[in-house]
Structures are given as C-alpha cells and as structure tokens.
Symmetry: C2
C-alpha cells in the first residue's frame, strides 16, 4: 500500500545548544517522506524554488521517494530560521519565515495520487488540506493531518472542518490543549475525538507521546539520548515512521497503532541526533531494528509480577 504526503520542502537555518547550521534541507514533507520511506513507498507533493539543489532531489530519490509531485517554480524555496532554548529543547523561537514559492502552493493531484490509500496532510493551511482531501478519490483508507498553533489561533474554523474530516490527527501537547481548550491531556484528547478523528496522537517532545485510539490510551516515553543535536523535524519524522508503518502493514488494530507509535518514536529519535536530515537519511534497517529492541528494554516491565500477585503487608 502506498502513502501520499502533501506539505513543505524547505531550507532551514537553525541554532541549537549543540551548534548551528545554515540553509540545510528541511520541511515537514521532507522529514516525513524520508522517515516513511524505511517502511513504505511514498509519494511527495510539494513545491520548490529554482534554488533547490539537485543533490537534495537525489537524496529523496535515493530513498525511493516518488518526486514526480515535486513542483519546481521560479523563485526561492521556502525558508525558515529558528533558535532553540538552551534550557528546554522543547522550546524554540522562530527568527524568520520566508514563504517564497510556498505562498503559491496549490497542489493538483494526478489520478494515481488521488487513489493513494494513506494520506498525510502535513502542516499547511487548513483550507489547502481540505482542498487536497477533496481531490482524493476514492476516499483513502486513512487520512491523517498535522497542524500547528498558527492555524489554531488564526484559522480555527477551517481547522475544525479538516480535523472533522480526517481519521487521525497529530498535535503537540500545547496544540492539543489549545485546540481543545482543556489543560488535562486525556480530556483534551476526548474533545478532539468529539470533533471527528478516531485516533488522536499527542506529541510531547522529549516527554514522548500519548495516543488515544478511541477509548484506548497508549503512553510512550521518548527514547533517552545522551545528546540531542537538533530537534528540528522530530515531529515530522515521528509522523513519517508512524504512517509508513501503517501503510506498510495495513494494521489499524490497537496493537498496530501502538507499534506505529513506537516506530515513529524510533525514527524521530535518530533525526534529532544530527542537524537537518543527516542522520535520518543515513539509517540502516538494522539500526532501526536495534533501536526498537532498545526501546523495549527502556520501557519494559511486563511479566514482572510474582506468580501470586503483588505483595501485601501481612
């Protein structure tokens, strides 16, 4: 089964406590595509400027990403620059956003793209997300979206429309609280369910992820790393690994969703170990398998009960 992602391809400049990197490959659809490519074929729909370097198209192609939907326009590629807090890598400040050719992004899907079974609407204008979903035919087996505070504050009504039309939403902790108007995460997830999606995935950065799949809650801590170099793209890589797993297995049972969340976390944990997609793009299947096993060791406690149940004071 195949997977379509519609989102941004960008050049980022970031400063983190570990250093800085200028004009390096970024964008939600970039991270998503490479992450998903480890499990499933991916088609990418995005727009780039005439400054986009051939080596970056080749990088995507080397992961068998279908780049026929990567539209090249006159002008510059989307650019973002930001700086991460030294105290809390979950916090970042945007220094500059230049939409450039992305401002004119109006994807028109091919017949083959319209028929893709798994669709990921990366963080773009909710109106555009709605328009893309409207082009799909037949409706995909699973539609997921990502969003951000910018749209929650500025395009609430369109955002509610698209959230109401998808099966799965990815939001970070702050976004879920803001969208739901509720501080308690379990209750925030319930309110988001009530808008439509049957799967709500709340990304908590270095604190892991909370998945609400209907009534079933799954909490997973983040993988523990000795060193985080650059958090940029962690959430998109997580979503890519997650959706790549679902598209590869077609397993939408609760167990399948949980496994997708673990694999998403595995992939995201590699992304943050270097700038840009440097580490993400260089993964081997063995490295992914080994880190999945390490995740099991990090979090496992099942089977530790004594045969007679828990001890009780006599």
């Amino acid at each position: 089964m195949s997977l379509l992602v519609v989102g941004s391809v960008a050049y980022d400049s970031v400063q983190t406590p570990a250093g800085s990197r200028d004009v390096s490959l970024g964008g939600s659809a970039t991270y998503f595509s490479i992450a998903a490519s480890y499990f499933s074929p991916v088609s990418l729909v995005a727009v780039i400027g005439d400054d986009f370097m051939p080596e970056h198209v080749e990088l995507l192609e080397s992961h068998a990403v279908d780049v026929s939907g990567l539209e090249r326009r006159e002008g510059k590629t989307f650019r973002w620059s930001g700086v991460y807090s030294t105290e809390d890598l979950n916090e970042r400040e945007t220094l500059d956003t230049q939409l450039n050719v992305f401002a004119e992004f109006k994807p028109v899907l091919t017949d083959q793209q319209r028929a893709t079974e798994y669709l990921f609407l990366a963080n773009i204008d909710p109106q555009l997300q709605l328009e893309v979903l409207g082009q799909m035919s037949p409706r995909p087996k699973l539609v997921a979206l990502d969003s951000m505070n910018f749209w929650i504050e500025g395009a609430r009504s369109h955002l509610e429309d698209i959230v109401g039309a998808v099966d799965l939403v990815f939001m970070d902790e702050g976004e879920a609280r803001a969208f739901a108007g509720e501080e308690n995460l379990a209750q925030a997830a319930s309110r988001i369910h009530s808008v439509g999606p049957r799967i709500v995935v709340i990304k908590r950065g270095e604190h892991g992820v909370l998945v609400s799949n209907g009534g079933s809650l799954f909490a997973l801590p983040a993988f523990i790393l000795d060193r985080v170099v650059d958090p940029t793209g962690a959430g998109d890589s997580f979503a890519g690994g997650f959706m790549g797993m679902l598209a590869a297995t077609g397993d939408l049972t609760d167990g399948g969703i949980r496994r997708a969340a673990v694999l998403g976390s595995v992939i995201g944990s590699f992304t943050v170990q270097d700038f840009s997609a440097d580490r993400l793009a260089a993964l081997s299947h063995d490295e992914i398998t080994d880190r999945f096993a390490a995740f099991e060791r990090l979090t496992g406690f099942a089977g530790l009960e004594t045969g007679g149940g828990l001890p009780q004071r006599e």
Copy 2:
C-alpha cells in the same frame, strides 16, 4: 523486611485549580509511610507539635505504621502552604513555610530502628540525613534519600556527602539537572552515579519517571488521569510505594527495581486524585492491583512485532 522513614509530618494548606484545602495532613514522611504501608511494615521517625490531632495518629496506626518514633513536642507542627499553577501542575509556589517544632528535629533512633534493613531519608537537612545514617547499625541493605532544590543551592557540600553515602537517590527533573550541572537527563544520571548511588530515580511529575540502575535505563510515563485534584505528596507517595515494594520483596534486581517504580507510580497516581492523603489512605489492594494492570495496558507494546521482524520497503 522492614522499612524506616525519617522525615517531616506537617499540616499543609494548598490551592490548586480544583479547589483549596486548609491545614490538612501532609509532610513527606506521612505520604511515604501510608504509601509504603500497602506493601511493607513501616516505622516512622518524625516530630509533631501539641496541635497534632489524635485522628491523624490513628490514621497512621490504622495502616499499621509504627508511630513509636513520632515525637511530640511543645509548639506547633510544621506548616507549609502553597499554590499550584493552573497552566502546569508541575509548577508550584510556596506561600509560607513555618518549621515550628521541626526546627528542633534531632532524631535519636532506638536499637530496633537502627537495625532496619531499608532506610528512607526523606527531604530534610542533609546534615541530619548524614547523622541518621551514622546511627544505623549494621548498615542497612538499602539506603535511599530524597532531596530538593533548597539543599542543592544552600547545602551543596553536605548534600554531596550524603548522596555519596546512599544506594539510591530520588530527585525531581529540575533537581537532578541542578545537582549534576547537566541539562541532558541521561548524562545528569551518569554524573549522579559518579558521586556514589547505584540507583538514580528521576521524578518527572506528569511526565513520569526515569530510573537509571547502573547502566540500565527505565523510562515510565505517568498514569493518565482525567482529573488531578492536588499534586502535593505525589513524589513522596511514589517513593513510599517504590521503597515499600523493595522492602516487601527484597528484590533488588533490575526487574525488581522496575516493578517498584511502576508500583510507586501507581500509588502516586492515587494520591493526586484528592486533597491531602484522603485518596491515598483509602486504597484497597484490589484498587492497586487493578491500576497496575491498567498501567500495563497504558504502556504495553511488547510482543507486537510480526514474526518476520519489522516491515521493510521492497
């Protein structure tokens, strides 16, 4: 095997987003004792004033807590008051601290207390913690301590002495970072190990707990609750459940430590569902067992791999 706790018994006044409670039973040793009592016999060493209510002694006795070390002095019981942030229940501000009789606390252990196999030094002056440890004979099988920012900033050298003398430390995330002088939690845990303790337990509030047992890391999310009424005592209840399990089972293997961390989290999750120790003190063994099972459902993903390993794009 039995468990000795030396710490504070207090009256707290708290304001939380869910309401407020004046002059209710609190104190680190109180929460710890009641939590541990579900698994193991506990002896409590603390000081109270002549205002301490008989019903609160009876509450401890009803949990079979040995209160022979609860010294009553002329004056008032230790009082604390604080207010929790409506945005982030991990954040609280102390409004007032009155040490009262606690200022003169100089515990002298009985021979029986000195011989206890499991010792918990709750958050008190590190010099006092050292003095209590010096009274133990023979050295306990396991000595644990809790601390707080106040001592990290104000009594660093004594704190390092006692941290260097124990087997296990409980610290919250901010304390571990401050004590270690290191933002990365895995590296902070390594530095704390290098001071002495072979087990480092980092409490992350609503984000769970990270246990470093020598080289083995265990990350556990917090139990997800629809509603948190009052976070006061969560950390002490966690430590009580944790140490109560260790004292009950004597199991200091990595599996035993992990199980203790889960049971500590189970007990702490009950504490925050009501003010003071109201919920904590009213637990049944079935409720504890059920929530342990719920924790397994919340966090479990083991055994979800397909027989042939993870899928791989063809």
